[in-house]
C-alpha cells in the first residue's frame, strides 16, 4: 500500500467520510496537512488527542482516528488545558476556527498563551463564521461583507499571531491551504515545540465568504491566498506600505520559556515520598 493510503487508513475514520464540508472548502486541505504532520512528528497514535471547538473546521475531529474531543463553542483550549494537566504525556492538538478562537474563545486563547502550556493550536482562519452561514468574525478584514455586515464590516480585524505573542505564546506560525507542504512543515515544528504553539492556517470558504465578497470560486480564492502571502524572510525587507493587504507566512516566532505542565509537576515533586 502506498504511504499515503496507509496514512489514510490509520489516521482517518474512513467510514465517517464523505465529510460535511462544501466543495472547494479549505478545511480538508488543512486536515490532511495535520495528518501528515502527525506522521512526520513521529508521535504514537495513542498519545495524540484532538480537541476542537464549534464550527466547520472543528468537525475535523470526527474524521480523525485518535481520541477526539469535540467541545463547546470557544472553549476547546480550556478542555484541552484540563486534559493536558491531567495527562501531560499526551500530545494535544486543538482545532479551532477564527470566530471560535478569537471571539467567543478569546479569553481562553490569551490565557493559554500566557501559561505557555504545551498545546498545539491550529486555527483555520477563513475570515468568517461559515457554519452559521457567513457572519463577520474578529478576523474578517475591514470592509468585507457578511450577513451581519451587509454593507461591509466597520470593525478592524486583528493579527492573531501578534495577539498570541503579546500574551506569551512561544511559537507562532502562519501557513495557508494554498501551500499545504509548508503548512505541514510548520505543523511538525509546532508539534515538536515545547510550549503553546499557534498555527494560523488561512483557508478559503467559498460558500459563506467568497460568494458574498465576489472573490470567485475555490481556485480563484486559493490563488488569491497564495498571491497575498509573503514569506517571513522576504517580509523583513519590505516596507509596511508594501505589506499592506498581504499575509506574512512561515515561522513568525519561536523561543523557549518554561512550560506550564512540566513546571507544575516539577513543583509538586517535593511532596513525593512524604
Amino acid at each position: 500500500m502506498a504511504a499515503i493510503e496507509q496514512l489514510t487508513q490509520d489516521f482517518l475514520r474512513t467510514k465517517k467520510l464523505p465529510h460535511i464540508w462544501c466543495p472547494g472548502c479549505g478545511n480538508g486541505i488543512v486536515t490532511a496537512a495535520m495528518v501528515r504532520a502527525f506522521k512526520r512528528a513521529g508521535f504514537e497514535q495513542r498519545d495524540i488527542v484532538i480537541v476542537s471547538g464549534i464550527g466547520c473546521s472543528s468537525r475535523a475531529a470526527g474524521y480523525l482516528n485518535f481520541n477526539t474531543l469535540h467541545t463547546t463553542h470557544g472553549r476547546a483550549l480550556s478542555f484541552a488545558t484540563g486534559l493536558k494537566m491531567a495527562r501531560p504525556e499526551l500530545h494535544v492538538f486543538v482545532i479551532m476556527g477564527d470566530g471560535d478562537c478569537s471571539a467567543i474563545g478569546g479569553n481562553h486563547f490569551i490565557h493559554t498563551a500566557r501559561r505557555n502550556i504545551d498545546l498545539n493550536a491550529v486555527i483555520v482562519n477563513n475570515h468568517i463564521y461559515g457554519m452559521t452561514g457567513g457572519q463577520h468574525s474578529p478576523l474578517t478584514p475591514s470592509g468585507k461583507k457578511a450577513t451581519t455586515a451587509p454593507l461591509g464590516t466597520l470593525e478592524r480585524s486583528f493579527d492573531l499571531l501578534e495577539l498570541a505573542r503579546g500574551a506569551g505564546a512561544t511559537f507562532g506560525a502562519r501557513g495557508t491551504a494554498a501551500q499545504p507542504r509548508q503548512l505541514e512543515q510548520l505543523m511538525v515544528r509546532g508539534a515538536k515545540h515545547k510550549g503553546f504553539s499557534v498555527i494560523e492556517a488561512l483557508s478559503p470558504c467559498p460558500i459563506s465568504y467568497g460568494r458574498r465578497n465576489k472573490l470567485g470560486g475555490p481556485v480563484e480564492m486559493l490563488l488569491d491566498i497564495k498571491n497575498k502571502s509573503v514569506p517571513v524572510e522576504r517580509a523583513s525587507e519590505m516596507s509596511s506600505e508594501e505589506l499592506e493587504g498581504k499575509n506574512v507566512t512561515g515561522l513568525i516566532y519561536a523561543y523557549d520559556a518554561p512550560e506550564f505542565s512540566e513546571e507544575y509537576y516539577r513543583m509538586i515533586e517535593q511532596f513525593k515520598d512524604k
Partner: protein
C-alpha cells in the same frame, strides 16, 4: 469500619476533604464568594497528593477544564456560587450529554445577579434542575450539616463516576461557612473502584446495553466525544431514532439507579399530623422545632429532610402526604421546591410554604409559630 477521628471543620473544607477522600485529584475553578475556601483548600491539599490544582481564567474555563481532566482519567471537581454557576451551565450540559463524570459545587448566595454575595440563600434549586438548556437529567445533593457535606460529596463523586453523570453539590452560605465536628475515617478507602479497569474488548463508549465505564484518553480506544447527539460510538447523529434513544438512555440511567441516588432522612413521630419537608440549612431550623415539638412535647410532628433534591424524592413525599394532614416547606427563596412537594402530595395534604428571602435564616421560632396554627 476504619477508625474515625473527630475534626472541627468548615463546610467548604469538608466538601474539599470529602472529594479528596473519594479520590478527586483535580480541581479547576475561579474564585467567588462564598465558595472560595473550597478552592483554597484544594490549592493546598492537591499538590501534596500529586494532584492538580489550577485557577482558570474564568468560570466557564473552570468547568471545561474539569471535563477535560475527567476524560484524561482524573476525578475532578469545581466549586462556584450563583453568578459562576450561571456561567458554568453550558458546559454542565455538555458533561451530561457526553457522560463525563464530574462534580460541581454551588455554594448558594443571595441572588439574582450579584445580589448579596455573603448572604445565604436557597435560590438556585430550580437552576440546579434546569439551568442548562435542553431536557436533561440531573443529580443534586443539598447537605444540612458539615458532616453531611463531607459524606454527600463522597457519594457525589462516586455516583458521578458510576453513572457517568455530573452531580451538583448544592450547598448554601450557612453550611459552607459553618464549623462543625466531622468524623473522618482514618484510612478511608471511600472511593469506588476505578471505573476504567477491566475494559471488555467490545467496549463502546456509549453502550446502549447499560452502564459502561469511561476509558480515559490515551489508552488506544479511539472514540469520539461530542455534545452533539451521538451513536454508541460517540459519532454525531441526527437520526430521530438515535436521538430519542440517546436522550431516553440518559434519563433511564438515573431512574434505574434511583435508590442509590435519592437520599432522604425522616425523624419524628411515626404518624405525623404535621410534617416539615426541607433541605440544606433550613433543615437545621426545622430539626430544632421537631426536637421541641416531638421529642419534648410528643406532638405528632416529623421532618423529612432531603439530601437529594434532584431527582426529586417524589415517592417519599407522596408517602408522607398520605399520612400527614399538613406539610410545611421552609425555604430561603420565594418558593421553589415547594411546587414539587405540592405536585407529589397530589392534594392529600395541605402544603404550606414558609419563605424567607431577606438574606437571613428561617428561625425555629418562625417555624414554631407556623406550627402553632395546627398544634397543639
Amino acid at each position: 469500619m476504619p477508625e474515625k477521628k473527630p475534626v472541627l471543620m468548615q463546610g467548604n473544607e469538608a466538601c474539599a476533604e470529602g472529594a479528596i477522600s473519594a479520590g478527586v485529584r483535580f480541581y479547576a475553578g475561579y474564585p467567588i464568594t462564598p465558595s472560595t475556601e473550597v478552592a483554597e483548600h484544594m490549592a493546598r491539599r492537591l499538590p501534596e497528593l500529586g494532584g492538580v490544582f489550577i485557577q482558570m481564567e474564568d468560570e466557564i474555563a473552570g468547568m471545561a477544564a474539569i471535563i477535560g481532566a475527567s476524560i484524561g482519567g482524573k476525578r475532578a471537581i469545581t466549586a462556584t456560587s450563583g453568578p459562576g454557576f450561571s456561567l458554568k451551565q453550558e458546559n454542565i450540559g455538555y458533561a451530561i450529554m457526553a457522560e463525563i463524570p464530574c462534580v460541581i459545587v454551588n455554594v448558594q448566595r443571595m441572588g439574582p445577579s450579584t445580589g448579596v454575595p455573603t448572604a445565604p440563600s436557597q435560590g438556585d434549586v430550580m437552576q440546579a434542575r434546569w439551568g442548562t438548556h435542553g431536557d436533561h437529567p440531573i443529580i443534586a445533593f443539598s447537605p444540612a450539616s458539615v458532616y453531611e457535606t463531607y459524606y454527600l460529596t463522597i457519594a457525589a463523586v462516586n455516583l458521578s463516576q458510576k453513572l457517568r453523570q455530573p452531580v451538583i453539590m448544592l450547598l448554601d452560605e450557612v453550611i459552607g461557612h459553618m464549623r462543625e465536628k466531622v468524623l473522618i475515617p482514618d484510612t478511608g478507602k471511600l472511593m469506588v473502584e476505578k471505573s476504567s479497569d477491566n475494559v471488555p474488548a467490545d467496549w463502546k463508549p456509549y453502550d446502549e446495553k447499560g452502564l459502561t465505564p469511561l476509558v480515559p484518553f490515551g489508552f488506544g480506544h479511539y472514540y469520539h466525544v461530542t455534545g452533539l447527539f451521538h451513536d454508541q460510538y460517540g459519532f454525531p447523529s441526527g437520526d430521530p431514532e438515535v436521538v430519542k434513544r440517546a436522550l431516553d438512555r440518559l434519563h433511564d440511567k438515573l431512574e434505574k439507579y434511583r435508590d442509590e441516588i435519592v437520599l432522604t432522612n425522616y425523624v419524628g413521630h411515626k404518624e405525623p399530623r404535621v410534617a416539615f419537608v426541607t433541605y440544606g440549612c433550613s433543615v437545621r431550623s426545622a430539626r430544632a422545632v421537631v426536637k421541641k415539638a416531638y421529642w419534648q412535647n410528643r406532638w405528632p410532628v416529623g421532618l423529612l429532610s432531603l439530601q437529594t433534591v434532584w431527582p426529586f424524592p417524589g415517592r417519599e413525599v407522596e408517602a408522607l402526604a398520605r399520612q400527614a394532614d399538613v406539610i410545611i416547606v421552609p425555604e430561603l427563596n420565594r418558593g421553589q421546591l415547594v411546587r414539587e412537594v405540592e405536585r407529589y402530595s397530589r392534594g392529600q395534604a395541605e402544603v404550606v410554604p414558609v419563605n424567607r428571602y431577606d438574606g437571613e435564616m428561617i428561625t425555629p421560632d418562625q417555624l414554631m409559630e407556623v406550627l402553632g396554627r395546627w398544634l397543639p
